[in-house]
Amino acid sequence: MSDLEQFRQETRAWLDENCPKSMRAPMGEGDICWGGRRFEFKSDDQKAWLEHMAARGWTVPSWPKEYGGGGLNKDEAKILAEEMRRISARPPLVSFGIWMLGPALLKFGTHEQKLEHLPPIARGEIRWCQGYSEPNAGSDLAALMTKAEDKGDHYIINGQKIWTSYADKADWIFCLVRTDFSATKHNGISFVLFDMESEGVSTKPIKLISGYSPFCETFFDDVKAYKKNLVGEENKGWTIAKYLLTHERTGIGDMGMPKPLSAIARDKLGLEDGQIEDKMLRHEIASHEIDAAAFMFTLERAKDQAKAGGDMGAFSSMLKYYGTELNKDRHELILKVNGTDALEWEGQFSNNGEIARNWLRTKANSIEGGTTEVQLNIISKRILDLPA
């Protein structure tokens, strides 16, 4: 038996023993385990699942062991993912720390920074938020103006961020600040980490068209941030910001494997002679699912290419653009499949308008993390090499 086959068998047995039954079911937004100082577990099973996985480093399977990870190579990590999918295991922990800050710290952080910040992420103890966008720095992110003044061993930070996801629930922030106002806009930005409980930090949730408030305005009034938490060099933060955006885009484009649209339609509308009765809708669904399947294979191909040593680069912009537009299309179709039932806003039958609210949420997919138009700009310049 090959080493990998043995790893698969051991993993399967371990998961069978350690993944609680209730954690082997599809997950709604409310079932996500975000971790953090103030996180309240929804169940004992949720807590146990996180603890078992964290103890093995499998909340972040491919991070090095010394930083709280599982130390798995790519093949092993793929097997773990496959085995988790096989039993429909929920991710034990979802966070911006795992998804975004971690990869940036692994690439740009010092050994001390990694030792300090990565293990609490892996264990789900510290929840992070991302301080990027500002009221006047959206698509033009590098125009950001949040000011960090040099005070020797620390900075004093003043300014405002916006669209900070779950800032009101986060423990720490990774934040882009301007450390040099005389340099050109990309060259005066630094990447710093600080505690959201620091004096001078305040947050205000923004109510969205969905009625949800996943985003906040975040204000900094003379906030102290220690220089030991400056990642990379001062004024070189844009490099890290760009790297992280690439990462974020791949993630946003990859919406995972939600319930197939056709299955939703089948459950809702039933079949007649083996087909969805509404022929026009069936056609729309098939068209969408053809694109969705082709895109799913594109994600697989991108991962295989990266594994084979190819540089993902601007290809992530394509994944972000295509994946988010597909997801918007998918939710438009879910709305059509459910008809007026989907438009109920309050009430128990609709779980307080879940379908409508999720549909509205997707409208942000092609705005956050760089708009569709920005992605198309990147593709045309960096891949197609069209003139500026």
């Binding site: 087909q275 098939a286 594109t298 653009y321 069209l386």
Partner: protein
Amino acid sequence: MAMVLNEEQQLLKETADGFFAEKAPVGQLRKLRDDKDETGYSKELWQEMADMGFAGLLIGEDEGGTNFGLVGAGIVAEAMGRTLSASPYLASAVVGASVISAAGNADQKAALLPAIAAGETVLTLAIDETSHHRPEKTALKAEKTASGYKLNGLKVFVPEGHVADQVIVLARTGGEKGDRDGLSLFLVDRKAAGLIVDRTVMTDSRNWAKMTFEGVAVGADALLGSEGKAMDVLEGALDKARIVVAAELLGVSQECLDRTVQYLKERKQFGVLIGTFQGLQHRAAELFSEIEVTRSAVLKALQVADMGGDARWFASLAKAKAAKTAELATNEAIQMHGGIGMTDEFDIGFYIKRARVLQNLYGDFSYHADRFAALSGY
């Protein structure tokens, strides 16, 4: 299987790209068209392709082929799509070889496969009878006689029909039009008595034919596979062909994008390169994305079919997506080239013409979207 080309496949790609760019650029198709060439393709080119092993990619080594597999066949088709190289590759080396391999008995394989691989014998499949691909609706009749069968009926849209040596004919030996059962495959000599072949000059300047069967008599040994059970073996072979057609469409689309992007970098209006206009940049970027997504669907289907799995769902996915993307790519190419794209002198018109023919071949977007939905359980 990782969704990247392995070393061997990468090498084949480089070889094929270089070969067709040098030996059969679009100019060759233009010349064949302008000369009203009787064969409709260059026999020298086809022989060279056979010498390169391209005609035997799907044929076993014992039968004179290279057994390279379907991914390789797709790689060559994509390269041909880029230069619109005319040859009986699809009709003979892909469809012909696949059907004979799937349905033929040992004698038939021994007689035909080495000859296909060597480029000596050209095969084709006569399947469609109307303007739309509907194999189950086959009406062409094969009646049993004392010595074999007698064929009566019409076939249209037969690739290389007027030059093929042997024609594989899908005919009804039982059941009613619309039944999956009762269909059989026959091998018929193109020069058989009673077979009237009319070359149909099509939009893409390639070889197509209408075939009228007026009491064409064939021996019992002309039957390929079991009588009445043709669809069981034909569907797999057809799906391979559909995926390879999708690969050629991918090549057409990619070439349209590349030529268009190049044009955007050269053409000036209002004193600047038109490639600086965001309106055009975004259209090109969207097209790039559609082509990349199509490439994944095609590669996945090629790999699944290569491994011998049930490729039906993947084939319909690839063919539908490739057809849709090629429609977009060819339309966008003409629009972004502007007036020059409308001229016959400029090559881009050849691509849109070829694309529409391939889009229809072995099932158009609607056919495959419907099949995809049915196979997905709705």
